[in-house]
């Protein structure tokens, strides 16, 4: 188990390194000079040159890369252009809001997806099964920002059931949760579909296995067989799926934060683009990427911890 964890961690480090290199290449190769991007169209040549030197852009490319790379691993993404605060501080200030949103999205997707998928599998072939199937495909297809706008329109503007903007009063957990309902629905709705489909498929597979047949032959109650014997196995792949899901939820969170005027990483990057705050963009992209890779690593390890078969095979 430990060697496996170490190997997975090593691979994650390599992937993050390559991702950093890719981002660096992108900055370097894309026509457009970070200094002029940062200073805007009215900057003079001398101002640009001064900033280039300050950003180290006058040095050879490998020196620039090494600086970028080693700084990034130390969490040093430079300073914000306007306030001169370290980018990492600004990013970590906003991160909890995005994490709360993703946690809400996972709650929606797991809370609805697992029961729906399980129900569809138990009622295989019925109208309910087909309905869950079509609805799953439908919610996967519809982009999260359309869900966000329509949810805002229906539940906040039209029905006025839920608040439209903000993250709620600081310190008031109930208010914050109420403010989380709609944005996290927009983030998680598509994943209700993914999880329902996957749980249904893996449930059908598990229900065919011989240990379920044995459990039936022992006359165990159907409820016990479905929920304790089959579902506990059928939901294991959900963990891996959610690992991937967090990446997409990070993307959806950008939209949800803008539509519902919430603070968070997405909002931060969006505002940074409008104000040409380039270090903030790089910093936020790298932090979310590391976060995403970490989540996948954790998902793999959690699977190991949950499944006694996997646990011993390491």
């Amino acid at each position: 188990m430990l060697t496996y964890a170490a190997k997975r961690l090593g691979l994650s480090v390599v992937i993050v390194s390559v991702a950093m290199a890719l981002l660096f290449c992108m900055i370097y190769l894309v026509p457009g000079d970070p200094a002029s991007v940062a200073l805007g169209p009215r900057a003079t040549e001398a101002m640009k040159e001064a900033l280039r030197v300050r950003m180290g852009l006058d040095q050879p490319i490998w020196v620039q890369f090494w600086n970028f790379y080693s700084d990034a691993w130390r969490g040093d993404f430079g300073v914000e252009v306007l306030s001169e605060r370290p980018v990492i501080d600004v990013v970590f200030e906003q991160l909890p809001y995005t994490l709360a949103l993703i946690a809400g999205g996972i709650t929606w997707s797991v809370g609805l997806g697992i029961p729906l998928g399980c129900w569809a599998a138990v009622k295989r072939g019925s109208f309910a099964d087909r309905l869950v199937g079509v609805l799953s495909v439908a919610v996967i297809a519809i982009p999260s920002f359309v869900v966000a706008i329509y949810a805002l329109l229906i539940f906040a503007v039209s029905l006025r059931w839920l608040p439209a903007i903000g993250a709620g009063e600081p310190g008031d957990l109930g208010d914050q949760l109420v403010h989380l309902i709609l944005p996290s629905l927009a983030v998680g709705l598509g994943w209700v579909g993914y999880i329902a489909r996957m749980v249904r498929a893996s449930m059908l597979e598990v229900l065919e296995t011989s240990h379920i047949r044995t459990a039936r032959a022992f006359g165990l109650p159907e409820g016990l067989i479905t929920y304790r014997y089959a579902l506990t196995i059928a939901i294991l792949p959900t963990v891996t799926l959610l690992g991937v899901g967090v990446g997409q939820m990070l993307s959806s969170a950008v939209f949800a934060e803008i539509v519902f005027a919430r603070p968070g990483i997405g909002r931060l990057v969006y505002d940074a683009i409008l104000t040409r705050n380039f270090p903030v963009v790089t910093g936020a992209v790298l932090v979310t990427t590391v976060f995403f890779v970490l989540v996948n690593l954790i998902a793999d390890l959690v699977i190991g911890a949950l499944d006694p078969r996997v646990r011993s095979s390491f």
Binding site: S210, R213, A217, G219
Partner: protein
């Protein structure tokens, strides 16, 4: 008294290519405290028979005729799912072929054994004590500690012994053993068979033992039922079947048993031809297309012929086929 009486049992599956007659006019009994073996090639309907008894036929299959009488009174055919479930695990237990897959991989052995006793009304501690007691009975070392372990932590032979312990824990009247030793190697097979016989005597239950291994059947069983293509072709006590087989299929099956080969040979004898398509059964005797003794009248419906002492064979020539296996061997 008989524990299980099966009369004229017919099972049909609906498939895309038409109805599949998986069991046809099956008759036999399992008397009290006896071990009855069912033998036949794969595809002969053994698994369907088990599922029909347990009420676990697939959705597209159903009993179209006949009865399965349990303990002289309950007809298992058409019994409500709840009543059927009340019998399963309590009065009728099963050990399946695949010890690797038969236990739930994510629940501990103890948990699974406690769950099986959900109807017993015992306390959790009592259930665990009973489970440990059963594990000791099947010679699992350190039974108490074994309860908290998971299936993958045991060897194949141990898993099969655990499955047997589970099946006998509720002291059922009937144990169905579906090729319980096929997946085990030869030494383990002998040990498991002995264990099973031991426990059967201790508990006093009847056993329906399904196998394609003739040696195991001869060793363990009191009575034998020979199945071919969903029909019972011959049945009787173990000595009649092995020493005086009267159905051509049984005779060919015994000839083909590697253990019976008296001289060394490179080519094991086989029965020419294939099991008929169960969607288009041959008229009359089901073995007719492969039988070298077949005559025209074999295409007429065949009744079971009583040969005395409970020995029955579904062949019109049964009375005449009295030459012993030894003679038969000499003739070929």
């Amino acid at each position: 008294m008989t524990v299980l009486t099966i009369r004229d049992l017919n099972v049909v599956f609906s498939t895309e290519a038409g109805p599949l007659h998986a069991l046809k006019d099956v008759n036999f009994e399992v008397p009290e405290r006896r071990i009855v073996g069912i033998v036949g090639e794969s595809g002969c309907g053994k698994s369907t028979l088990i599922n029909a008894i347990l009420g676990l036929l697939a959705d597209n299959g159903g009993v179209t005729g006949g009865s399965i009488t349990f303990e002289g009174q309950t007809d298992l055919v058409g019994l409500s799912p709840d009543k059927m479930r009340a019998l399963r695990g309590e009065r009728i237990s099963t050990v399946f072929q695949d010890p690797m897959g038969a236990l739930n991989p994510v629940l501990s052995i103890g948990r699974q054994m406690v769950n099986i006793q959900y109807r017993s009304g015992l306390s959790r501690a009592e259930k665990e004590a009973r489970a440990a007691e059963m594990l000791e009975l099947v010679r699992i070392p350190d039974a108490r500690a074994a309860l908290s372990r998971f299936p993958h932590q045991f060897s194949g032979g141990m898993k099969q012994r655990i499955a047997i312990a589970m099946a006998l824990m509720m002291e059922p009247a009937l144990l169905i053993a579906d090729e319980p030793t096929t997946a085990l190697d030869a030494t383990l097979e002998v040990a498991t068979i002995e264990l099973l016989k031991d426990l059967q005597e201790k508990i006093g239950c009847s056993v329906l033992f399904i196998s394609h291994h003739l040696g195991v059947i001869a060793e363990l069983c009191d009575e034998v039922v020979v199945m071919y293509a969903g029909e019972v072709v011959e049945r009787g006590d173990v000595r009649s079947i092995f020493n005086d087989p009267r159905h051509p299929y049984t005779r060919r099956l015994l000839e083909c048993d590697p253990a019976r080969q008296s001289s060394r040979t490179r080519n094991l004898p086989t029965i020419p031809g294939e099991i008929p398509d169960l969607r288009a059964r041959p008229r009359g005797c089901v073995f007719r297309p492969r039988c070298d003794l077949a005559v025209d009248t074999c295409a007429d419906p065949q009744a079971e012929r009583d040969l005395g002492g409970g020995h029955q064979a579904r062949c019109q020539k049964a009375q005449g086929l009295t030459n012993t296996m030894a003679e038969l061997g000499a003739a070929t």
